[in-house]
């Protein structure tokens, strides 16, 4: 059974070298790092070594790394933690319309807690305008969170520039870098960020582990209370194996970064160019400053979930921004935020590459994609050209009546 895995933005396969580092912590080295005996010390040392490795790569000090249970948890900790701790300084917080739900839903929650939230627009390729951020910052703005590289359309923001604006205005800045870690600069000093989220699941590491980089002096409130681990910021017995795995995975992607960028950029551009040869197909997201592993296109008049499942049957795994595949039956907020009609969002497919992908696999997939798009178009009562769909009412309409 041969499989072609185009869903590396959802999660990556754990690297064998990562797994090997983790295994001892499921076997002999099972101690609780908070215990005072040797079993505990052994586990504590593993965590502190991992912390050292991570801080070396991020160019920060060990004390600035907080291990958490996921990217979602790190985002929640940064956002709730900062906003609730600093609410006496101001009630205005800023984010964008293309955040991962792990960020956007926190902001929605905070708006119910009395915070005033601005969701910044993005342009047709998903970029945040520095000017918009400047204008949005008010006297009572305390916090900004902007996704580094978008998980759906691959847009990479100029985080350095955005962080600088916040710094000048004395506003704390967090970036969700889960998708960026493999391909972008994650030197926190150089970026000038106050907080940054990473997770293991996207870097060929284990799922269910994340980190929050929190610059010294940035004060946040915990979201979990208990034994006071991680300097009182994140209670709960540390997941030693996952933490060790996370550090190893980050080291590996850091070492292999340049090579992967070169290889995947070439494959990505080939894939995009071939897909755009299918009539009435549109690229979502930019050509430049795009994640090297992200391909996202819309095929007019077909619905993404049905294409996803036809491909699934052939062992080809992708994802879609169609409403039909989402829990809330709404089309992707990211694909619509860049000005696409809901029709285009329903027709959008994301193919996210990873380090094991070969050109041969892409060619095989292209053959199936082309056939299935043809098949589904024959089944479809719609007959719009992609230009007509692009022109359509750009606002999401109410569905379900």
């Amino acid at each position: 059974m041969k499989e072609i895995y185009f869903d590396n933005a959802a999660t990556t396969k754990t690297d064998k070298r990562v797994l090997k580092e983790m295994l001892p912590y499921f076997k002999g080295k099972y101690g609780n790092p908070n215990s005072m005996h040797n079993k505990g010390i052994e586990a504590r040392q593993a965590i502190e070594e991992a912390r050292q490795k991570v801080s070396n790569i991020l160019n920060c000090s060990k004390e600035e790394i907080i291990f958490t249970g996921s990217g979602t948890e790190s985002d929640n900790l940064a956002i709730f933690g900062y906003a609730r701790k600093n609410r006496d300084k101001g009630k205005h917080i800023i984010t964008t319309k293309i955040e991962h739900h792990a960020v956007s839903h926190c902001f929605e929650r905070l708006s119910k807690e009395g915070f005033d939230v601005t969701f910044l627009d993005v342009d047709s390729e998903g970029f945040v305008f520095a000017e918009d951020l400047k204008k949005a910052i008010r006297n009572d703005t305390i916090f900004v969170s902007i996704i580094y590289a978008n998980n759906e359309i691959g847009t990479i923001q100029n985080i350095k520039e955005l962080a600088k604006i916040c710094k000048e205005k004395g506003v704390a800045f967090h970036t969700d870098a889960c998708q960026a870690a493999n391909y972008c600069n994650i030197d926190v000093l150089d970026l000038g960020v106050d907080m940054m989220t990473l997770n293991g699941s996207k870097i060929y590491g284990p799922k269910g582990v994340g980190i929050l980089y929190k610059k010294k002096g940035v004060e946040i409130e915990p979201i979990l209370y208990g034994g006071g681990q991680e300097n009182g910021i994140r209670s709960g017995t540390e997941n030693v194996a996952n933490i060790v795995g996370f550090a190893k995975a980050l080291e590996l992607v850091y070492e292999e970064k340049e090579k992967e960028i070169r290889k995947l950029t070439e494959l990505r551009d080939y894939f995009i160019n071939e897909l755009l040869k299918i009539p009435d197909t549109k690229l979502n997201g930019p050509r430049e400053n795009r994640l090297p592993n992200n391909v996202n296109v819309s095929f007019a008049n077909i619905e993404g979930e049905s294409l996803l499942l036809l491909l699934n049957e052939e062992g080809i795994f992708a994802s879609t921004g169609s409403a039909c595949s989402s829990k809330d039956l709404a089309p992707s907020h990211v694909v619509t935020a860049i000005g696409n009609s809901p029709e285009i969002a329903h027709s959008s497919m994301r193919f996210s590459l990873g380090k094991d992908i070969t050109k041969k696999q892409i060619d095989i997939a292209l053959g199936f994609i082309e056939n299935f798009v043809k098949k589904l178009r024959k089944m479809s009562p719609l007959d719009f050209s992609i230009e007509e769909l692009i022109m359509k009412n750009k606002k999401a309409r109410e569905c379900g009546e």
Binding site: E303, C324, P342, K378, F384
Partner: protein, 142 residues
């Protein structure tokens, strides 16, 4: 292309749903397909913005639906539901219009062996498209 084998893993759709999705029955592959059945009623429901549109052509003779063709823009469930509905109304010599009008989403669901809970609405469109086609037929008859 040939070196990818079917892996036959189950997903959350029933066998019957999959069968109708991968091998849809009575689907209009071309305009010729539609002409051939000499349709005397057509109905369309849904909205492309909402992600599902169904169009159904029926050919009624002596008060029974003899043949039917359809096209659907939508998910697996929507496609399988339309396909199943097209079988239900044309099997056994064709269904009487009065009975066809009484088909509910639940009837389609039962024949499909169920759908995932958040996909139930996809089968609702099917019976609505059929009702629209019957209405169109009755209007044409007058």
């Amino acid at each position: 292309m040939a070196d990818i084998k079917k892996h036959g893993k189950e997903w959350f759709y029933s066998k019957i749903v999959k069968e109708h999705f991968f091998h849809p029955k009575n689907m209009a592959l071309s305009d010729k397909d539609i002409e051939l059945i000499r349709p005397n009623g057509v109905g369309e429901v849904g909205s492309p913005a909402c992600g599902d549109v169904m169009r159904m052509w029926i050919s009624v003779e002596n008060g029974k639906i003899k043949r039917c063709r359809w096209r659907t823009f939508g998910c697996t469930s929507a496609i399988a539901s339309t396909s199943m509905l097209s079988v239900m109304i044309t099997e056994k010599g064709g269904m009487k219009l009065e009975e066809a009008e009484k088909i509910t989403a639940k009837d389609i669901l039962d024949r499909l062996g169920g759908l995932p809970p958040n996909k139930i609405h996809c089968s609702v469109l099917g019976d609505q498209a059929l009702k629209a086609a019957i209405k169109d037929y009755r209007k044409n008859e007058k």
